[in-house]
């Protein structure tokens, strides 16, 4: 078995807590800023409003003064201890509770009303151990998050999916060992392992990182302001908005011209635009991929080797779909089940021609979304 796919091992020592940053930058994907430069903000104050339904608002992770507002960030220079008024969630229910959670920065899209809740307790990607560390060291917060999630989702059954050999539990949840080899660690495949069904109705999965965010909200009545992420062999507890440069420095890593600084994992993550970019809520990993670490992606034609077809957990033909995207054949892409792709990244990982297989598929999906929105 490829080392890349082997189940992650023990999370190691407790997460190292980094001090709150001197200047926190909150990333703004899908948000519109609601503060201006020079404005003083309290910790937990709204700084940007979510533009999409289901997405949570963004808040200042530290108290201080806003010193940059642009399309991508709101940056706050830390100063003082002032914090926003906590919200009492205990009295709220149903729609009001959802609306309040959203205003507290919680993404409510994953909190659908269902009857079976699967907690994905696996480290979702190779090289990441932060999920199991949360289970081991932050159980009370996870429990608070789970209780809140169940109140919102109304789930009557709860199953905690774990890698074989991991001892963890959450009150009210059955535990279940499931295969922990990537991509089996992804939500749809964990749900399949637990229920035996593919995309069954009335079942949803939450990751422990989502529970951790929710748990912080439940415990403090304030927006989630910390995340645990794996960098190299270690885990770090960081304040949201901490620039990636500071996390890298703490881990003894550094990035040079042309490197990719990857947030989350190597298969599903995203790249930082600069070292000043802040770590967002729920980010579970950080790594540096040096320039030239592997052959560059090129727009080579598919050689029809079939490697992607055989490795794809969605059982689609990624080579074919990428060709549809390349030539703008969106209808053919839909006919060949582009929607089934769960974006695990394995197709582009194995492609010997270094074709941007998943990149093309994501492009086609985006174009399809735009077409759907325009009608």
């Amino acid at each position: 078995m490829n080392r890349m796919f082997s189940p992650s091992t023990d999370p190691g020592p407790a997460a190292m807590a980094l001090p709150a940053p001197v200047r926190a930058c909150v990333p703004l994907a899908g948000h519109a800023p609601r503060v201006s430069c020079g404005q003083a903000v309290t910790k937990g104050q709204l700084v940007a409003e979510a533009l999409e339904p289901g997405l949570g608002d963004a808040h200042a992770p530290v108290a201080g003064k806003v010193d940059l507002v642009d399309k991508w960030n709101v940056c706050v220079v830390a100063q003082g201890e002032a914090r926003a008024e906590p919200v009492d969630l205990a009295a709220l229910e149903g729609g009001t509770l959802r609306a309040v959670l959203r205003s507290l920065g919680v993404d409510i899209a994953p909190l659908a009303v269902i009857n079976t809740l699967v907690i994905n307790g696996l480290n979702s990607e190779p090289g990441v151990t932060s999920a199991e560390l949360l289970l081991r060291d932050f159980a009370p917060t996870l429990q608070a998050g789970l209780d809140l999630a169940r109140r919102v989702m109304g789930a009557s059954v709860c199953v905690l999916a774990l890698r074989q050999g991991v001892a963890a539990s959450l009150a009210g949840c059955d535990t279940r060992s499931v295969p922990a080899v990537y991509p089996q660690t992804l939500d749809p495949l964990v749900i399949k392992a637990v229920t035996g069904k593919e995309n069954p109705e009335g079942v949803a999965a939450l990751s422990v990182h989502e529970l951790f965010c929710l748990g912080q909200v439940a415990e403090t009545g304030l927006p989630c302001d910390r995340t645990v992420l794996t960098v190299g062999e270690r885990n770090f507890l960081v304040v949201v908005g901490t620039p990636v440069s500071e996390v890298l420095a703490a881990a003894g890593l550094d990035a040079r011209d042309g490197d990719r600084v990857v947030l989350d994992g190597l298969f599903r993550g995203f790249t930082a635009r600069s070292l000043g970019q802040g770590v967002d809520k729920g980010v579970y990993g950080l790594s540096v991929v040096p320039a030239g670490a592997h052959a560059p992606v090129t727009d080579a034609p598919c050689m029809e080797c079939g490697k992607c077809v055989r490795i794809c957990p969605s059982r689609v033909d990624p080579g074919l779909l990428s060709g549809c995207a390349e030539f703008g054949l969106l209808k053919q892409a839909v006919d060949n089940y582009i929607d089934a792709c769960m974006e695990c990244g394995l197709c582009a990982y194995v492609c010997p021609t270094h074709r941007p297989v998943l990149q093309y598929i994501r492009l086609a999906k985006q174009q399809l979304r735009e077409v759907a929105e325009s009608v």
Partner: protein, 334 residues
């Protein structure tokens, strides 16, 4: 879709452009995944060529310089033809991925050692032009490229392609010719061990049986080729010839003879597995192999060509688009 690395950016915008005033590095931004398994077309082709090596060496030992000459001619012609085609198409050359060299060598393995120079050149050029480049290059071929070149030669210059005609000086015989023209008694005396040791006339490399088999097993062991197509091919051949043999042993050769004589094993591992022209999922691969194996038997028994394996694979290639339609329901589809 190439990522805009800093040095590229600098080339586009002039050195120093986009560099922030601070000394912070300029990062590359791209979409996932950010890891790669490490294989490349070149590494795949080099593995395949390495698997050809034992049989190439044995061919050189058995036939001497003429065999080396045919391999060199085919390989060089394939590389030159591909480079010329790409020049004409206004494309960057891809000859350095060694796919064309591999195609040339597979063709050489199917030619007789005594093939005249023009035959090797015509065959290799047809393989690349008609088998690969007119379909847009690597990945477009609906037919196995080396077999296209072989078929062009086989149909156009049958005498030159016939090892028994072209190698009169050799004391070896081509078992499938003898079977076709003189019946099963004519090949009674030929033992499996003789066949295995390569004591038969045929394609210069394809008849080096134990070396070809060793190469085939190497491909399987390295995961370069999957077992479905070769195994199903050989099963189809043995099963079909077995049925004929069991029904009438007097007028048919044994399945073991069919397995070991001619180019069946070579074609099963090195030509039928050509990726663009064969299916890629398990069940279609098995059906493809079985079909090609059964067709080999049918052509050998009823056809006018003694060795049916290359034609059988070309025919099976035509079924590939249909076989590719056999596919599982995608994840979660209802």
């Amino acid at each position: 879709m190439q990522s805009l690395t800093p040095d590229k950016t600098a080339r586009v915008l002039g050195a120093g452009a986009l560099r922030p005033l601070t000394a912070a590095p300029v990062l590359t931004v791209s979409a996932p995944p950010f890891a790669h398994a490490g294989s490349s077309v070149r590494s795949l082709m080099l593995t395949s060529i390495a698997a050809l090596a034992p049989a190439a060496i044995m061919a050189a030992v058995a036939y001497g310089l003429p065999a080396v000459r045919v391999m060199a001619l085919c390989g060089a012609t394939a590389i030159i033809t591909e480079t010329l085609c790409e020049r004409l198409m206004g494309r960057q050359s891809s000859a350095d991925d060694y796919h064309c060299l591999y195609v040339g060598l597979v063709l050489a393995f199917l030619l007789p050692a005594a093939a005249p120079w023009w035959l090797a050149v015509m065959g290799a050029a047809s393989s690349i032009v008609l088998g690969k480049m007119i379909f847009g290059g690597l990945g477009g071929s609906p037919l196995s490229p080396a077999l296209v070149g072989w078929a062009v030669c086989r149909l156009s210059w049958p005498e030159a392609m016939d090892a028994e005609f072209s190698m009169l000086a050799s004391e070896l015989i081509s078992p499938l010719h003898h079977l076709k023209f003189f019946g099963p008694e004519a090949v009674d005396g030929i033992t499996s061990v003789q066949l295995l040791l390569g004591r038969q006339l045929g394609g210069l490399g394809a008849s080096q049986l134990w070396a070809v088999s060793a190469g085939g097993l190497l491909l399987l062991a390295l995961g370069r080729v999957r077992w479905e197509i070769p195994l199903a091919f050989l099963t189809g051949l043995v099963a079909t010839t077995g049925i004929y043999w069991l029904s009438d042993p007097a007028s048919h050769a044994s399945p073991l003879f069919h397995l070991l004589a001619g180019s069946a094993i070579f074609v099963a591992f090195f030509a039928a597995t050509d990726e663009p022209s064969s299916p890629s999922r398990v069940l279609p691969m098995l059906l493809f192999g079985l079909l090609a194996g059964a067709l080999t038997a049918v052509i050998r028994i009823y056809g006018i060509y003694p060795d049916g394996a290359p034609f059988a694979v070309l025919l099976a290639n035509l079924f590939t688009p249909m076989l590719a339609r056999i596919r599982p329901k995608p994840f979660g589809a209802r």
